[in-house]
Amino acid sequence: MNIPPAYVLTLSGILFALGVIGVLIRRNAIVIFMSIELMLNSANLALISFARTLAPAQEAFRGHVFVFFVIAVAAAEVAVGLALIVAIFRSKESIDVDEVSSLRG
């Protein structure tokens, strides 16, 4: 399929920006977390796009392998992060990140 890589990368950039906005706007910790996953995902898209651009060179596979690892690490990160959110919820009864402001100076 002959899609200009530039467009894919642009889409990746837009998705990333949307992920950033999501992190900054939302107060729900889980939604923030999901925005972070969105950002990761957009990075994966960019990697795959570059891998396709470089194909059929041998090092093109590196992009795919990288994405594989990113997904694995994202999974581990989600597990731990959600465990943290659960632990915070236990003490604060809320997952509103604005509640976690006791370091306010």
């Binding site: 900054l24 107060r27 990140v97 604005d98 976690v100 402001s101 370091l103 306010r104 100076g105």
Partner: protein
């Protein structure tokens, strides 16, 4: 014999420094040990030191027989600055040795006398511990006097001059807490010192002038210069000698600076005898005799010297006639006789002056010591009768004496000898010395002669008056009636001095002129005075007439207790003047002392205290300082410096308050900040 060989070799001169060292050694010994080892020890050490000094003086005399031109023995280099060189050397020549011999001999006798006298006196005054101190001062005096007479330049002489002045002050005020109002003796000492100081000022100015003209203060160099260039510089020499005269006037108690000597009688009698009769007061005469070459050139000043001496002689004699204190009579007599000496050196009769100086030392010391003996005898009598009515008793007032001839025989006889010597009756020493002066005055200056002859007349008169009042007639007080003679330690020196008074005339008998020849070695233009029979005869005649007058007034009908003095009726107001010393002290007080005290009071109180201290220091300086420091403290320190300190704190506080806003505690804000940072970095990489 060995001594002759040594003498001929001139080796004896080397002992000359001992003449100063021995008294100093004596006084140091007394300072260290005197109080601890007792009166006898202190007295013997002091007298022994002076006696040894007398021996040294004799040795110098012997040495001078062989080398009559004398030597100068250097001891040390005192001042050496630029062109001014003042070495300390001892000049042993005939003139200085004459003084050395006389001073050490008389001092020795008086020291021995003082051993006994002070023993009584410290008990009478109530402080036996002060005995040693007396002899320390006495020895110091002898040492200073030796420095004076042995000096070979004007400045060293001045050192001795000041030294004897100091000792005089110390000894006059020996009983410093006694006297009128509890400070009378100290005041007398102060008066002596200050009056002397005026004279010293003259001496200093003279030294400056001499140094300025000659370039040196050494006697030989100055006299050499006078010989070479004296006639061309008569003006300078005249002024210098005028100031030397001022110095001599102060030290030798001439007009107008004689007022200290009568008050100096407040000191113990040995002091009066030694310092104020025989030695210190003669320093002025000695100084003029030493400066003979200068006075030979400055005839006008020499003339003035003679007139000052003559007028003083007559003036003091008149006062002596009206005095009732036994020591005061002798004090004014001393002033009068010093006038004789001054007149002699003024007319150029240096030998006559020195002759009279030595003879007068003998019989005036004798008279003073005898007077002391009389006073102590009367005090003994006073103690015996146990102060009956509580009235204050004056042991020195002649009106409280009388009839002591029978009670104090030795004292009477020696006193008589001294009085006759003073009156100038042959063959006692006083006749020859005074007659030589009169003969010289007759030749040189008639006016001076007349004044001196009148003074001699009065001298005989008041001595007769004194003898008759004290020793003849009936005792006018209980104390006199019980007076006792004094122990030998006091009477033996008296007898020795009486011997000197009798035989002292041999020094310069007319025709033999030993002293003239002796002094001619040192002083130039010395001539032997011919014996003037007319003058001699007139003076003896006047003396006898004067004694006759005194017999008429005081001997025929002796005064009884409470009688007024017969002269009072005869002379009336003149006698009152005599008795009150012609109000000279009162005049000085009015003319000088009161304005001076007023000025110094003004300066002290108004200028120094009120203006300077109160206004200037307190108001001006003090308040300026206070305001300055207040400004520094408040405006500068509190305001600016504290302001800076506080300001920094405030700024930090303000800044941190503002920056605090960033610490919201919200994670999303921090994430936003991260985004902003990331955007900036990205922009930099893209666009930069």
């Amino acid at each position: 014999m060995v001594l002759l060989e040594v003498v001929q070799g001139g080796g004896l001169f080397a002992y000359a420094p001992l003449i100063i060292a021995l008294p100093i050694l004596g006084l140091i010994t007394n300072i260290i040990f005197g109080r601890r080892l007792g009166e006898r020890f202190a007295g013997i050490v002091a007298s022994g030191a002076v006696a040894l000094a007398f021996v040294i003086a004799i040795l110098q005399f012997l040495a001078l027989q062989v080398h009559p031109e004398g030597v100068t023995i250097p001891i040390a280099e005192w001042i050496s600055v630029g062109s001014l060189s003042i070495p300390w050397s001892i000049k042993v020549d005939t003139l200085s040795t004459t003084m050395m011999l006389m001073v050490t001999c008389v001092s020795m006798l008086i020291h021995i006398y003082a051993i006994g006298y002070m023993h009584e006196d410290v008990r009478f005054q109530g402080d036996p511990g002060r005995y040693a101190r007396f002899f320390i001062f006495f020895n110091l005096f002898v040492a200073a006097m030796m420095v004076l007479v042995s000096a070979d330049n004007y400045l060293m002489m001045f050192v001795g001059w000041e030294g004897v002045g100091l000792c005089s002050y110390l000894l006059i005020g020996f009983w410093y807490e006694k006297g009128e109002d509890g400070i009378g003796n100290a005041v007398a000492g102060k008066k002596a010192f200050i009056t002397n100081r005026i004279g010293d000022f003259g001496f200093l100015i003279a030294m400056f002038l001499i140094f300025g003209a000659v370039g040196s203060l050494q006697f030989d160099q100055v006299f050499h210069w006078v010989h070479e260039q004296g006639l061309a510089n008569v003006g300078v020499i005249s002024v210098a000698t005028l100031f030397l005269l001022l110095g001599a006037t102060g030290k030798s108690a001439q007009l107008p600076l004689f007022v200290w000597l009568p008050d100096a009688m407040a000191g113990p009698t040995p002091v009066s005898a030694l310092i104020h009769a025989a030695t210190m007061v003669t320093a002025g005469i000695y100084m003029i005799a030493r400066s003979a070459p200068l006075f030979d050139v400055a005839q006008s000043t020499a003339n003035l010297v003679a007139w000052v001496g003559a007028v003083t002689a007559l003036f003091a004699a008149t006062i002596a006639v009206g005095q009732f204190d036994i020591k005061r009579v002798l004090a004014y007599s001393t002033i009068s006789q010093l006038g004789f000496m001054m007149a002699a050196v003024g007319i150029g009769a240096y030998v006559a002056g020195m002759f009279h100086l030595v003879a007068h030392a003998f019989f005036k010391a004798l008279l003073f010591l005898s007077a002391g003996s009389v006073i102590q005898g009367v005090e003994h009598g006073h103690h015996h009768i146990e102060h009956g009515d509580g009235k204050p008793f004056e042991p020195q007032d002649m009106r409280n004496m009388g009839g002591l001839r029978s009670r104090m025989k030795v004292t009477y006889w020696v006193y008589l000898i001294g009085a006759l010597a003073l009156a100038g009756l042959p063959p006692l020493a006083g006749f020859f010395s005074k007659d030589e002066i009169l003969a010289d005055a007759n030749m040189e200056n008639m006016g001076v002669y007349i004044l001196l002859a009148a003074a001699a007349f009065l001298t005989a008169f008041y001595m007769g008056r004194q003898i008759l009042m004290v020793f003849f007639g009936k005792a006018r007080s209980e104390a006199a009636a019980h007076a006792t003679e004094n122990p030998p330690v006091m009477t033996i020196p008296l007898i020795a001095l009486a011997g000197l008074a009798i035989f002292g005339g041999v020094l310069n008998l007319p025709g033999v002129h030993k002293l003239t020849d002796w002094l001619a070695r040192t002083i130039e233009h010395v001539h032997a005075t011919e014996f003037n029979v007319l003058v001699a005869g007139l003076s003896v005649l006047f003396a006898l007439i004067a004694i006759g007058f005194s017999w008429q007034l005081y001997g025929r009908k002796t005064m009884k207790e409470g009688d007024p003095d017969p002269l009072r009726k005869i002379l009336g107001p003149i006698f009152v003047g005599m008795e009150n010393k012609w109000w000279v002290d009162e005049l000085y007080d009015f003319l000088f002392i009161r304005p001076y005290v007023a000025i110094s009071w003004f300066l002290a109180d108004v200028v120094d205290w009120r203006f300077w201290h109160d206004w200037f220091h307190d108001s001006v300086l003090g308040s300026a300082y206070r305001n300055g420091s207040r400004w520094l403290a408040q405006v500068f320190d509190l305001g600016i410096i504290d302001g800076i300190g506080n300001g920094l704190g405030n700024i930090t506080d303000w800044g941190s308050q503002r920056l605090r806003v960033l610490q919201t505690g919200y994670v999303r804000n921090y994430a936003l900040a991260v985004l902003v940072g990331g955007l900036l970095v990205l922009s930099y990489f893209i666009f930069g």
